[in-house]
């Protein structure tokens, strides 16, 4: 059996944990730079304010009734790790799927599944304070569907168990479900299935395996097989390995100054290098792009240029040198609104080619980057930066409504009132 456990309205729930007055209040969480709504509490959804709406387009009368928060990934990341710790202690294998979901591989366990599900939900609520729901079924694909069913329940704890793939309530459910709702089936695939008369998830799982392989792909045949209760998809089947990395951000206000742009670029190179090394990858090419605000009356300018790195690298200094050369070429005296760094042709670290002349230097650089990552992980991102990076730089994120980093900064601990 497999389980999918998912935090309900995760970002809003994190905000409420340390700000209990937000309980029952419509809470919306904003994207980087406070641009648009990326997460909503149930009360916020009930006001019919759609996902993705630009912040300034929210109706002013509604705006007064809701609380908007800047996204606080430091806080969300810490609480996500706590949820995983609580679960990992109690099950054989845990596979994180996103910041607010993880799969549990329960094979080898003999349990009253409903009791186990209820216990796991209660332990997360009690120990971390976040509401979660759980779906348990014979395969990951079915567990994901079971989780959605659990979320629809009005009773607590939200647990849905499908003991076997031919359980009558499961069959009935699949008959009502579009293939689009099944994990890994996108809009285009769904349209092609509809063209063949496959209109429900139940019809998909009754389609012969050979036909799905012939007309579509092995992966879709496996998805159908998973709907029939045979576990055959791994997480990596559904997530193609990272092909490229993008670090970009709009500036709080337009930037003209070349030195300030160079500072923002250094910042993005640091982030990109860290992402590379975290995934044990190296990049072969780097690109940067710059653009002015397309909605302003000033002339619109967009520039993008790539360069190959001398050899595949995950070295922040190497990335930054190449990126700064590109900036020198592209920069014009304009009011830029956005700058980004892109890395591509990523390959795993171990296939590293060394050039004939690089001698001992790359090994030293690797050790340097390792020390770099360790220092920043332990002492914070501001402790060590590539060149000066003032905290109030104009290109830093707008996050006017960010909550405190309650769990990771001594000076931002929540306050509890003596009563």
């Amino acid at each position: 059996m497999f389980a999918l456990i998912d935090c309900n309205n995760f970002y809003a729930a994190c905000e409420r944990l340390f700000e209990p007055r937000l309980e029952g209040v419509p809470v919306g969480v904003l994207s980087n730079n406070d641009g648009c709504v990326i997460a909503r509490s149930e009360e916020f959804k009930a006001l019919d304010i759609p996902m993705g709406i630009p912040t300034h387009k929210i109706d002013p009368t509604l705006r007064r009734r809701v609380v908007l928060k800047s996204s606080n990934y430091t806080l969300y990341g810490d609480l996500s790790a706590r949820v995983q710790q609580v679960l990992a202690r109690q099950v054989p294998t845990l596979e994180p799927y996103s910041i607010d979901e993880c799969f549990l591989d329960l094979r080898g366990m003999q349990e009253d599944w409903h009791a186990l599900g209820a216990h796991l939900v209660r332990s997360v609520v009690r120990e971390v304070g976040l509401p979660v729901s759980i779906g348990i079924a014979p395969t990951r694909t079915l567990a994901k569907l079971a989780n959605r069913q659990a979320k629809a329940q009005s009773t607590r704890p939200q647990v849905c168990v499908w003991q076997s793939a031919d359980a009558p309530e499961l069959t009935a459910h699949l008959k009502r479900l579009s293939p689009r709702d099944v994990w890994g089936i996108g809009e285009r695939l769904n349209a092609r299935l509809a063209g063949l008369g496959v209109l429900t998830a139940a019809a998909l799982r009754e389609t012969p395996d050979s036909e799905l392989r012939r007309r579509f792909s092995v992966v879709l045949a496996r998805t159908a097989s998973e709907l029939n209760g045979h576990p055959c998809l791994s997480m990596s089947d559904l997530e193609s390995p990272r092909r490229s990395i993008l670090c970009s951000r709009s500036f709080g206000r337009p930037l003209r100054d070349r030195a300030a742009l160079a500072g923002a670029l250094r910042h993005h190179c640091q982030r990109a290098g860290e992402k590379l090394r975290r995934d044990a990858m190296q990049a072969s090419a780097i690109g940067i792009y710059l653009r002015t605000n397309p909605h302003h009356n000033t002339p619109y300018h967009h520039a993008c240029e790539w360069t190959a790195l001398p050899f595949p690298s995950a070295d922040t200094q190497q990335l930054n040198r190449a990126a700064q050369r590109l900036l020198t070429r592209l920069w014009q005296p304009l009011a830029y609104q956005k700058l980004g760094v892109m890395l591509t042709e990523l390959t795993p670290r171990q296939q590293r080619q060394t050039t004939l002349f690089d001698g001992a230097e790359p090994a030293r650089q690797e050790a340097l980057m390792e020390a770099w990552d360790t220092i920043r992980a332990r002492y914070g991102r501001q402790a060590l930066t590539l060149g000066p990076q003032p905290a109030d730089a104009a290109w830093q994120m707008n996050s006017a409504y960010r909550s405190a980093c309650y769990t990771t900064r001594w000076e931002e601990l929540p306050r509890a009132l003596a009563r």
Binding site: F18, R126, G380, T407, L417, R419
Partner: protein
């Protein structure tokens, strides 16, 4: 010259040099190496369950009689079941609040220190419970070790 204090992330521990042997000038290992142990780590002593442990600052001096002072660092473990005599963080009027749990005549109550508040009945699975406080940490006077707390607001 001023130094900025650096906060260690809660989950990291100081590196120990347990694998490296201390060598004297002659190159022989020190006889003390066999007896070396990892240094005592106060964080591990105070935080038994990292996933469910949170830190807060106490706001207000109303619990001074019980040895809880404004600005104290509170260590809260949500995994502990509340019992009479425990100090709790509970949500009252939408605010994180610190009160003592007491038993009177076989019933549980939240007992405030503030004279303007009445005792409140507390249920076994009370949804106002946020967590149980297991430590309150403060520097003793005039040692200058604890960064100065902002003045008490009430």
């Amino acid at each position: 010259m001023s130094m900025t204090p650096i906060a260690l992330a809660a989950s990291t521990s100081a590196p120990t040099s347990g694998d490296t042997l201390t060598r004297g000038a002659s190159g022989f290992p020190s006889p003390a190496d066999d007896y070396r142990e990892a240094p005592l780590d106060l964080h591990h002593h105070l935080v038994r369950r990292p996933a469910s442990t949170f830190f807060m600052r106490l706001e207000g001096d109303d619990h001074r009689h019980a040895g809880l002072y404004h600005g104290d660092l509170l260590v809260i473990d949500r995994a502990i079941s509340p019992r009479p005599g425990h100090w709790l963080v509970v949500v009252i009027d939408g605010e994180l609040s610190v009160l003592r749990l007491e038993r009177r005549a076989a019933r549980l109550y939240l007992a405030p220190s503030r004279p303007d508040l009445a005792t409140m009945p507390f249920e076994a699975d009370d949804n106002r419970l946020w967590g149980v406080i297991c430590y309150a940490i403060h520097a003793l006077p005039a040692t200058g070790e604890e960064p100065a707390s902002p003045p008490c607001s009430r």
